[in-house]
């Protein structure tokens, strides 16, 4: 069953920035890249749980604010040499409205 939830508009997130969606299962970080792609990950770094939503977004990655691990936005995977992955969610943007599927794709 997929329930797409409307979480806001593209304009609510700054380019190269992120916002947080609070859920009963923890925070989800929603990122917007320079070319207006949107991605959603668990707001927990696979290293020591740093809040990825607070990191710097560049290209298709975010750098964790605590110890600079880099995480791929489309998969949640850590960029080598680091190893690990964080939960990842499906997102779609429809006429500027962002829809999130809160079922984890992988964790």
């Amino acid at each position: 069953m997929t329930d797409w939830i409307e979480i806001g508009t593209l304009d609510d997130i700054p380019k190269l920035g992120a916002r947080v969606v609070k859920t009963s299962n923890g925070d989800i970080a929603v990122f917007r890249t320079a070319d207006d792609n949107v991605f959603a990950l668990d707001d927990r770094c696979p290293h020591k749980g740093g809040p990825l939503s607070q990191g710097i977004v560049h290209g298709g990655r975010v750098t964790c604010p605590l110890h600079n691990w880099q995480i791929e936005l489309n998969s949640g995977g850590a960029v080598a040499p680091d190893i690990g992955a964080t939960g990842c969610y499906a997102v779609q943007v429809d006429k500027g409205v962002i829809l999130l599927n809160p079922v984890k794709r992988r964790s």
Binding site: I5, I7, G8, D12, I13, P14, K15, L16, G17, R19, V20, V21, K22, T23, S24, D27, V30, A34, K48, G49, G50, P51, Q54, G55, I56, V57, H58, G59, T63, P65, L66, N68, Q70, P102
Partner: protein, 812 residues
């Protein structure tokens, strides 16, 4: 049983001889060393940079105590030999220690010559020979202002430059009408004088000192013509005399020095002598290169190989004053039988002269560009016939047979026999061989394996070039050549220059112009670019929050659990009941788990939820508090002590000055964090000497210190200068901040920045050049118009960047 070898004189020549002996015959001798100085063996040459604060004591040690024990050598440091009994073959030290010898090396060096004039033994008259002398000068430089250096030779000028670096007013007194007359001809000497004057030195030439005046200590120097100049200290650097007392009293034949033959033996064949204390074929020497030649020969004999002979040395000279390139060798004045080739480029400040006789180089003087000094010196020593290359000679070795390799560094054209390190006689071929066979990569490796660049250090640049050309791409020269990050090939300097020259005002614009390789950079270059843009074009370049590290975006410090800490500003560390009440209330109201006093005299509220930040700030703002910027690459804290208002030792109002400094500089963004402190007296309770900018108040004014760092690598500040008013202290402080803001690399604190560019440069820009200081101060104040806003108030009351502090959505 091993033979007993005793070395008297634990200095550069003696210990080098032991090193050579250990190489040739490690098991032959049972070695004992006596040294009058209480240290291991240090590099006397580097006393000059030690005085100029360009080196530290650790940097100049050649053989530490560990070295002696590792090699089974008994060292008696701090014991002076007072008697040699040649009949019974023992030596006796001033504390009564007696040691037998089979063979002995005398290496007692020389003594500074003291002019036999009235007042020469007054307190405040210092020589320049050992660590003790340097300490005496450093101490005097802290306390006094006027220094007079007698002697315009190598040693005198290096002493003068060192003292000037400590902010003293220095006059060099010289008997003749030109400086370093034994190494330089008149034109080169004139250029040197001008360059030193630009560094702030004063000169009294053709001045004969008649008397040193003073009662309890020196107060001035009087000349023969009756003139008198003030002096708090006098440095005598008028020459050296071989130290031969001990040898003489033992009945060894001495003239000016201890006379030795070509095998470095004295008239007693069991006793060898090397170094400045000897006289060989009528010559005495005062530079290390010939002494090291003697050391080799002496060791060869002690090892009983017996084939080496010392036949005298040709010598060349360089001056170790930062920013001045000077080289001289041989007979540079010439006479009616010689001809000169001279090249002079006043615009570039370059002067070169070669003295030629019978198609051979007899002497050379170079000023401003000394690149080819070692090549000319090689031609001179080898007596090479230069008629075939005469036309190109002046343009240097790189021009010989140059077929379109103009860009290649000139070391690649040097022959393997070209001497690179004059002090240690190391040729290019030796270095290349060591690099390739031993797999060396760094300057330090080369130093330890070949000794090149390990004495006076003036060949360091050449050694680096050899490393670069031998290793090719494997050797990354100096860090300043490094690109900013993987996204670009440009260095920090190049990026800054482009931003300024091309008037770039946004990150996309800069990335496009500089052809960035990635579409939007990375977490390392974007914050740097953002800083360079807003600091170069304040008010014009827009700040990009997405290119700031989270702390600067959220204006609080992220903690390991994702909560934040809040540190309100407390000007100069002062607070009051109203502020404390507001802090207590906020802590209660928002359930803040930890309240802590920080190392920077502020109060830290730790564990604040991000969503609560604007409300916490709002309450603090209501009590008059603003952001403490404890999270930023920005002005952090100004620590103060109680100062003259309360303290019985306070000399000035350190608290008040600290508050003023903080009020003026808060809010400014910097390459890295920037900390200040003001202490009310030299007891220095505010720890001003490990701050980026520190003020130590003294009775007569304010000592300004720069470039200190606590943290990872502790560094004490350098003294910038002394001033007499608060207004000056503030103006100098702001000018220093602005120079740092404009020129340091992003994430480079003032300590490494100063070590990279040199204190001399900062003094030139801020102390010597008044106009420039004022301009820097003005640019800082202009920039503050845009940045001195409380980021908390903007967010708490005005709702700026609201999205940063609120969730996008709450899903149940």
């Amino acid at each position: 049983m091993k033979e007993k070898l005793v070395l008297i004189g634990n200095g550069m020549a003696g210990v080098r001889t032991l090193e050579e002996v250990l190489k040739l015959a490690p098991e032959k001798y049972d070695i004992t060393v006596f040294g009058a100085e209480p240290f291991g063996n240090y590099n006397r040459i580097l006393l000059s940079p030690l005085l100029a604060k360009e080196k530290k004591l650790d940097d100049i040690m050649l053989n530490d105590l560990q070295w002696y024990s590792d090699n089974g050598i008994t060292l008696h440091a701090g014991k002076k030999i007072v008697q040699i009994h040649r009949g019974k073959r023992f030596v006796k030290a001033d504390d009564g220690t007696v040691v037998q010898y089979d063979r002995m090396i005398l290496a007692t060096g020389s003594n500074p010559f003291i002019l036999p004039i009235p007042g020469a033994n007054l307190p405040g008259v210092i020589t320049f020979r050992d660590i003790h002398d340097v300490n005496a000068m450093l101490e005097a430089a802290q306390k006094y202002r006027d220094a007079v250096v007698i002697g315009g030779g190598l040693l005198g000028l290096e002493a003068a430059y060192g003292l000037r670096n400590h902010g003293m007013d220095v006059t060099v007194v010289h008997l003749l009408d030109s400086l370093m007359e034994r190494q330089l001809d008149k034109p080169a000497s004139g250029l040197l004088k001008r360059a030193l004057e630009e560094k702030g030195l004063k000169f009294a030439l053709q001045a004969q000192t008649a008397e040193i005046v003073g009662d309890a200590r020196v107060t001035g120097v009087k000349f023969k013509d009756g003139r008198e100049i003030p002096a708090d200290i006098v440095v005598m650097a008028v020459g050296i005399r071989p130290n031969i007392e001990l040898a003489k009293s033992a009945g060894l034949h001495c003239q000016r020095g201890i006379v030795i033959n070509d095998t470095t033996q004295t008239f007693d064949p069991r006793i060898y002598a090397v170094g400045e204390c000897v006289e060989h074929r009528g010559n005495t020497y005062g530079l290390v290169a010939p002494l090291f030649d003697m050391a080799k020969v002496c060791a060869n004999h002690l090892a009983q190989l017996g084939y080496a002979r010392y036949q005298g040395s040709a010598i060349s000279t360089k001056l170790k004053v930062t920013g001045i390139d000077l080289f001289s060798a041989g007979d540079f004045n010439g006479d009616e039988t010689t001809e000169d080739i001279v090249m002079q480029d006043a615009g570039r400040g370059v002067y070169k002269k070669l003295v030629i006789k019978d198609n051979k180089i007899k002497g050379a003087v170079m000023y401003g560009d000394t690149m080819d000094g070692s090549w000319y010196f090689q031609l001179l020593r080898e007596g090479t016939d230069i008629s075939a290359m005469r036309e190109q000679l002046m343009f240097g070795q790189a021009h010989l047979g140059d077929s379109g390799h103009g860009g290649a560094s000139s070391v690649s054209t040097m022959s393997d026999k070209t001497e690179i390190c004059g002090c240690n006689g190391v040729c290019k071929g030796d270095i290349v061989k060591a690099i390739t066979t031993k797999g060396l990569f760094t300057l330090d490796d080369v130093r330890s394996h070949t000794k090149a660049s390990s004495s006076c250090g003036s060949c360091t640049g050449l050694v680096e070039q050899i490393l670069a050309s031998t290793l090719g791409g494997d050797y990354s020269t100096t860090p300043k050549e490094k690109p900013m990050c993987k996204c670009t090939d440009h260095t920090h300097e190049a990026v800054r220059k482009a931003i300024k020259d091309k008037h770039l005002t946004s990150i996309p614009q800069a990335m496009q112009y500089l052809e960035w390789r990635t579409p939007d950079g990375c977490h390392s270059c974007r914050p740097a670019l953002n800083y360079y843009l807003i600091s170069t074009w304040p008010g014009e370049a827009a700040d990009d929050p997405q290119s700031r590290f989270i702390n600067e975006r959220a204006h609080a410090n992220i903690q390991k659990d994702g909560t934040y800490s809040v540190v309100p500003r407390m000007w100069g560390g002062l607070t009051n009941p109203k502020e404390l009440r507001a802090i207590a209330d906020v802590a209660d109201k928002f359930n803040i788990p930890t309240v802590k006093v920080t190392g920077g005299q502020r109060i830290d509220l730790l564990g604040v939820k991000k969503e609560d930040l604007p409300a916490v700030w709002f309450d603090l703002n209501q009590a008059g508090m603003v952001s403490g910027h404890a999270y930023g690459k920005s002005l952090r804290t100004v620590k103060t002590c109680v100062g003259s208002e309360w303290c019985r030792f306070g000399t000035q109002d350190s608290t008040g000055l600290g508050v003023q400094l903080e009020r003026i500089t808060w809010g400014s963004w910097m390459p890295h964090k920037f900390k200040m402190a003001v202490s009310g007296c030299p007891r220095n309770c505010a720890e001003a000497t490990i701050k980026d900018f520190g003020v130590v108040c003294v009775d007569s004014g304010y000592e300004l210190h720069v470039g200190g760092n606590g943290g990872v690598k502790i560094r004490a500040t350098d003294l910038l200068c002394k001033v007499t008013s608060e207004a000056e202290a503030i103006e100098y402080g702001c000018a220093f901040v602005q120079l740092y803001r404009e020129e340091a690399h992003y994430l480079e604190r003032t300590a490494p920045w100063i070590e990279r560019i040199g204190l001399g440069y900062i003094k030139e820009r801020i102390v010597d050049d008044v106009k420039n200081r004022k301009a820097l101060h003005e640019r800082f104040m202009e920039s503050q118009k845009y940045f001195q806003k409380d980021p908390w108030a903007e967010r708490a009351a005005e709702g700026i960047e609201k999205h940063e502090f609120t969730p996008l959505k709450q899903v149940v």
